[in-house]
């Protein structure tokens, strides 16, 4: 089997696929190693073939499994994962908050293990970050009114990105064009000087009118939420449009390939066009080997589990922030004097694994009384607003950073999901609310459906989390099925995060209060993930932040590990701050940017 490439990329999702696409099309040889399977869309293997993805609620979260790992806080607990999320007994992530409590195993924080990575299961909300998200240190140094609920250390670890929105903007445009995203630019708080490449959004679900009305009543400008789903034929990926509004959206792979995941948009077309790109699925990278400041070999297991190696002139790691940090740490443990020193593993003050970030998020939800809608005819979101990313809003509310706000349309639109997410606070607590709500039976079950089926409307916010030194990824003694130490996520919120989430949850509540006729604050439930640090929403960021100072960052501005000549990291781990929006489009845009730098080196 071929074992020499110009570029070897670990991971086929948002951070890896754009680089594979660009460098293979530039005539370089590229190998993508992907731990998960290559699940194909309908008609992919031959005209008439079935897809490996199904419109089936059990693909979102399947049968019960039980955590059997001894000695963790939730040994014996049940979990319900998607078919492309890992078996937690084979490949656990451990989680602790900063209280020192015993770690527990969690489903939270995995992106999908499948070709396409997290872009297969995500809700496909594809927002750009706001210009100020790139310069939060500078913004806060120049702010007029003080932060509220902010202890003295609030901004200690906040860094500007090495470049501004203007540098990333052309790459946002490139990503939007190549991926296939529908939405509207009018009303967004971000400039689009490179052009509007959005496809036309489909008609919104009628229930979303209340969210729009609420945003407008508060004086907020709204726009159609950009979603990575094609609504028109998409020439760059050779896909034909169809009818994507079917409810099987968030947490489902799309059997039709309308959702613009990185396999159908970037990798598959590049292979079909005859470029030198190979994807090896079912192949988990175990560690990297280095010599003389370069990664010399990538060690992986083939689909049978047999060891194999491959070499690349350049090596790109993009297997999700948690797993990328872990891969570098495992490689360091394998060669402490070589690789370990080059990535400064466990050195005093080393930043490897530090400043792990997720998002402050939450929102508000209400049942729209007297109306009912078919919520299954929907995509993930219809309307968004950048009103809470405006400087005036941040000054007025004493916030260090802003947020995107958008309504959710497809959530709880299907009956099994309605039940299993009832009262659950995270992926680890699927079904718990419904099972324990024993009053819901017979006639009471009918009443519950009467009230909640096709009536529930929610509005969410997605905001920056304060970077903290203590929030980190380490290795834990619990081993995976390959005998490798597992990732241990140690994380908690900052007090100012609570203020951010309280303010924004209140805004979401106000949107519903203003938009839904007859609603009262008593009808609306609002809340956030504050107090539930494990809730990550699969937005796993930071841990290897980039910067201009080798003593203050792990990666250089091109996402190269400072002490390694040919090792790059391009998933969300590069981010020094997490942005006030869902991160995938920014990871993709940055990967296109890095690809330009890599092309110049080969």
């Amino acid at each position: 089997m071929r074992d020499q490439f110009d570029v070897v990329i670990v991971g086929s999702g948002a951070g890896g696929a754009p680089i594979a696409h660009e460098l293979a099309r530039a005539g370089r040889s590229v190998l993508v190693l992907e731990k998960g399977p290559l699940l194909r869309t309908q008609d992919e293997t031959r005209p008439g073939s079935r897809s490996d993805f199904k419109r089936d609620e059990m693909f979102n979260a399947g049968p019960e499994r039980v955590i059997t790992i001894p000695g963790v806080a939730n040994t014996g607990a049940s979990f319900y994962a998607s078919h492309v999320e890992p078996d937690l007994n084979d490949e656990p992530h451990l989680f602790s908050d900063l209280s020192g409590s015993a770690p527990r195993v969690t489903v939270e924080g995995y992106t999908a293990q499948v070709v396409g990575g997290g872009t297969q299961l995500y809700g496909a909300v594809s927002l750009r970050f706001a210009p100020d998200d790139f310069r939060l240190r500078s913004f806060n140094q120049g702010r007029g009114r003080p932060l509220q609920s902010a202890p003295g250390d609030t901004l200690t670890h906040v860094r500007d990105w090495p470049f501004g929105y203007d540098v990333l903007e052309p790459y946002y445009a490139k990503a939007e064009r190549l991926l296939g995203i529908n939405g509207t630019t009018a009303g967004q708080g971000k400039p689009f000087p490179s052009g509007d490449f959005y496809q036309r959004p489909l008609d919104p679900n009628p229930i979303s009118q209340f969210a729009l009305a609420g945003m407008q009543a508060l004086g907020y400008t709204a726009y159609r939420t950009p979603l990575a789903v094609i609504t028109e034929d998409h020439a760059p990926s050779g896909r034909r449009a169809g009818f994507p509004k079917v409810g099987f959206v968030n947490r489902y792979g799309d059997p039709m390939g309308f959702k613009s995941n990185t396999w159908v948009t970037l990798l598959r077309p590049t292979i079909r066009d005859g470029h030198d790109l190979e994807v090896r699925p079912n192949s988990v990278v175990t560690h990297l080997e280095s010599g003389g400041g370069r990664v010399s070999r990538v060690h992986y297991r083939d689909p049978s589990g047999r060891p194999a190696t491959v070499s690349g002139r350049l090596v790109v790691v993009a297997c999700s922030a948690v797993e990328s940090v872990r891969l570098l740490m495992l490689s360091a443990e394998n060669d402490r004097q070589g690789f370990g020193r080059e990535v400064r593993y466990q050195e005093n003050g080393s930043l490897l694994g530090r400043f792990f970030l997720t998002h402050c998020f939450g929102g508000a939800e209400v049942a729209v009384r007297g109306h009912r809608y078919d919520k299954s005819i929907s995509l993930d979101s219809d309307y968004a607003t950048d009103a809470c990313a405006r400087r005036e809003f941040l000054e007025e509310n004493g916030l260090w950073a802003g947020a995107a706000i958008y309504n959710n349309t497809s959530d709880q639109s299907l009956p099994v999901t309605l039940a299993r997410t009832h009262g659950s606070t995270d992926l680890d607590t699927f079904w718990v609310g419904f099972m324990g709500d024993v009053g819901k039976r017979g006639e009471n079950m009918v009443r519950w459906f009467d009230e909640d089926f096709g009536t529930r409307l929610s509005v969410s916010f997605m905001a920056n989390q304060i970077p903290r030194w203590e929030n980190r990824i380490e290795l834990h003694g619990v081993t995976d099925k390959w005998g490798r130490r597992s990732a241990h996520i140690i994380k908690d919120w900052h007090p100012h995060d609570q203020h951010v989430m309280n303010v924004l949850a209140r805004v979401c509540e106000d949107i519903l209060l203003s938009g839904v006729p007859g609603s009262t604050r008593d009808d609306i439930s609002e809340g956030s993930v504050y107090g539930n640090a494990v809730r990550i929403a699969n937005h796993i960021l930071g841990g290897m932040r980039f910067g201009t100072d080798p003593d203050d960052s792990v990666l250089d501005p091109d996402c190269r590990v400072w002490e390694m000549d040919n090792l790059y990291v391009t998933d969300g781990s590069f981010m020094p701050t997490s942005g006030g929006a869902n991160p995938t489009l920014t990871i993709q845009a940055n990967a296109f940017r890095v690809a330009d730098a890599l092309r110049a080196r080969l």
Partner: protein, 351 residues
């Protein structure tokens, strides 16, 4: 050969093998409280996924009536591999063994057969001439002769596997008590069979829209680790009901008997009444936990895709679709538009 062999590319098979079978670890980390202690399947993830049962990837007009069933035999890297593995199965004639073929250059041997939906079959591997059970799939069937065979069933199989008739009867009463199909309106709907002729896999609609059948199947396969809970608790509930209603068959007791059982399981302070009438806490200490299990399974069985054995013909979806209307009088759950024909009416998605 009676059965049709379906060509599936090596990637398809590996996609269904690597995550579950490939590993270095020999820990029994998948033993589920000892369910699989001492068995090779305790070491691997989700052994119930084998043989792999999937949509039939064929073009025939009747393709929807079939499943593709992929039989896999794997070796551990570095260990001696068998020279030959044959498959004997009742899908085919039992005198015509089918050789498994190597999947690419992997350690897996596999073969995919087309098997009609709604069927159950037994099979054995013949490994270098010696008959063997599938070391991965835990389902077995014991013949009247005492011979043990590996076993599987295809989608929407509707004959009881796990439960006896008396167990199904109690289970069904409890499931019905939970589900929203006891209203007069719902009963009328179900009795009309109002699902536009989608009767291909309808089965005993009186059984809680098939949710009981789902439970019978899910504890045979995906959640086999919950088989003990059902077998034990249904037996004890039968004892309790008979103690409270001497000489009467639990199947025909009125609703109040089951309401009381439900209420007692739901409320820890009332468990002593169950214990007094025959529930043995030494066998299953937490009646509330069993109720939680039952609630999750009832809901899933009723509303999940009919392939799992409940929601016959999409009946529960159709009930929601007819019962709930939008402001403009249209259905508030147009599930058919998303779902593959002939169950649904999607003009794009084939399932």
């Amino acid at each position: 050969m009676r059965v049709q062999i379906v060509p599936r590319d090596p990637l398809y098979v590996l996609n269904h093998c690597t995550k579950y079978l490939a590993r270095d670890s020999t820990d029994p980390r998948h033993s589920y409280w000892g369910t699989y202690d001492g068995q090779p399947r305790a070491r691997i993830s989700e052994p119930w996924r084998f043989p792999v049962i999937d949509s039939h990837d064929g073009d025939g007009a009747d393709a929807y009536e079939w499943n593709d069933v992929t039989f896999v035999h794997g070796s551990r890297p570095g260990e001696p591999e068998p020279r030959e593995v044959l498959l004997l199965t009742t899908c085919n004639t039992l005198w015509e063994p089918i050789p498994l073929e190597r999947v690419g250059d992997s350690v897996f041997l596999a073969r995919t057969l087309r098997v009609r939906k709604g069927e159950r079959h037994r099979y054995r591997f013949v490994v270098d001439g010696a008959p063997a059970l599938d070391p991965v799939n835990p389902q077995t069937e014991v013949l009247p002769t005492g011979e043990v065979w590996s076993s599987f069933f295809t989608w929407a199989y509707n004959q009881p596997i796990t439960f006896e008739r008396w167990e199904l009867a109690i289970l069904d009463r409890l499931v019905r008590h939970i589900l929203p199909f006891n209203s007069r309106e719902a009963r009328n709907f179900l009795q009309r069979g109002a699902n536009e002729g989608n009767v291909g896999h309808l089965y005993r609609l009186d059984l809680g829209v098939g949710a009981t059948n789902y439970v019978d199947k899910v504890v045979a396969r995906e959640e086999r680790h919950r088989l003990y809970a059902y077998k034990t608790c249904l037996e004890m509930l039968d004892t309790v009901l008979r103690a409270r209603n001497p000489g009467r068959d639990p199947e025909f007791l009125n609703e109040s008997s089951y309401t009381r059982l439900y209420d007692e399981m739901a409320d820890g302070s009332r468990w002593p009444a169950l214990f007094a009438d025959g529930w043995n806490p030494a066998r299953y200490g937490d009646p509330g936990h069993f109720l939680w299990l039952l609630r999750r399974h009832a809901m899933t069985g009723a509303f999940a895709h009919p392939r799992y054995g409940g929601n016959a013909g999409g009946m529960a979806w159709a009930y929601l679709g007819e019962h709930y209307r939008t402001d403009t009088g249209e259905t508030a759950f147009n599930w058919r538009q998303a779902v593959e024909p002939p169950l649904g009416t999607s003009t794009e998605y084939r399932g």
